[in-house]
């Protein structure tokens, strides 16, 4: 026996999915209702999650149970950020932003350079080895990186040799866009498949008497 709540919930979920799909035909009140409901519920859900996972344990609980009043400093700085919405007090937000950006840049820059930039550079310029296949791949990567960088180098006029190299860069950029677009189409179809799967698999919950 399927609980009545699950049957009702599934009817609502499938109904809302169909409301959103109705936009394919044209904009309509059912779509608008679904859209606004989604936005409202999302905001409520995220506010709730952020409060119970951040503000309550890290501020209220820390002060109440551990008597840690140092948390008031970041809390006040956080409130300063919200003051951007009051023009006369928006200058206070700059202090919080300056601290946040400065601290985070100092913390992350060495790690980003060490972990992302340098390994990528060394891989691009690594010695050729491993047979004809990997060597050809290495050459293609090197040519692609060089020509793409030239395309984005604007201190030289893109004519003659520089123009030729930058046009080659455009070809590599287009190939990259094509790959990304292909993947994007696949992703969107996957989302549609996910919804269809849900609707089809929900059939026996929505109509419990069809369950064998």
């Amino acid at each position: 026996m399927i609980p009545a709540g699950e049957v009702l919930g599934t009817w609502i979920a499938v109904g809302l999915t169909l409301m959103m799909f109705s936009f394919i035909y044209k904009d309509n009140p059912a779509f608008k209702f679904g859209e606004h409901l989604y936005l409202g519920i999302s905001v409520g859900y995220y506010v709730n999650i952020q409060y119970w996972s951040t503000i309550y344990p890290l501020v209220f609980q820390a002060m109440k149970q551990q008597h840690n009043y140092w948390v008031l400093i970041p809390t006040i700085l956080g409130i300063f950020i919200l003051l951007r919405i009051i023009p006369s007090m928006s200058w206070l937000s700059r202090m919080a932003f300056a601290l946040y950006i400065g601290g985070f840049a100092g913390y992350s820059l060495p790690l980003i350079v060490h972990s992302l930039l340098l390994p990528q550079l060394s891989q691009t310029l690594q010695p050729y080895s491993g047979g004809p296949g990997p060597v050809i791949n290495q050459i293609i990567i090197l040519v692609a990186v060089f020509s793409t960088l030239i395309y984005f180098f604007f201190s030289l006029e893109h004519r003659r040799t520089v123009g030729m190299i930058s046009r080659l860069g455009i070809v590599f950029i287009m190939v990259s866009f094509g790959a990304s677009f292909g993947y994007t189409v696949m992703a969107r179809i996957s989302l549609l498949i996910g919804r269809f799967q849900y609707i089809i698999e929900s059939g026996h919950i929505m109509f419990p008497w069809t369950r064998s």
């Binding site: 394919i24 790690l111 990304s180 179809i189």
Partner: protein
Amino acid sequence: MDFVTLILNLDRKIIFACVAVLVAWPLIWPLSMPVGTTPEVRSIFSAVDALPNGSDIMIAADYDPSSKPELQPFLYSMLAHCFEKDHKVHILTLWPGGPALVQQAVEEVSKQYGKTNGTDWCFLGYKPGNAAVVGGLTNSITGTYPTDFYNRPTANMPIYQRVQSVKDCDYIVDIAAGATVEVWIAFASAPENVPMSAACTAVSAAGYYPYYQAGQLDGISGGMKGSAEYDVLLMDKYPNVQGGAPRVAGNAVKGMDAQSAVHLFIVLSIILANICYFIANKRQREERRTA
């Protein structure tokens, strides 16, 4: 109206209807088309499979319901694979919309494998601050997450008696819908020398290939196709994945028939539309010449 004009002026609703039929048909009556595996996904599977039984795996499920069809099947398969190998699973999410999805998956799969919360796995929950959280995990897991998702103190858990930080984990897997893969590479995997793989949405897969090429990621699984490949590899190696329970593995494979059918339709539509476009152009040129 001839065929060329008809195609070039086709109402887009007809294309939508065709796509809807091509998606629904294989889901109702599966075509059972084969799913080939790629080296990128095989690398993830081999890496997790090659770890000694009982290794510690950090799984970051950094996505929310909008990416569920692409990434949730991968999480199910990865959890099944880890529990099949008796690995200890440390799971968390950096996305506020993620906890409900992770809770559903980890509770369901761990129950099927008879694994105990706090001993075999721990769901640390959600914490905001991406890089700060990952950086914190490299110092102390229990310090960054004093309590788990169920509000129980982590410091007393058996799973954290020998694992203090990400450094003590044997592998990291980031299942990501956004840019958190770079955060995990920069703040945990590379500085602490912990091998890592990523499963991402198809949209972002192309952007992560440089990290795979550079060896910073052992493997990449892109979108539903990658998840289906992992399902296939898992079911091939462990045919009795708890009796092949449908929720544990195979969910992405079911969607691949529809994916292939729609891709074929899109490719044929592009070719047909281009041919019609060039024929129409040629006709216009000829009409202008005769006029």
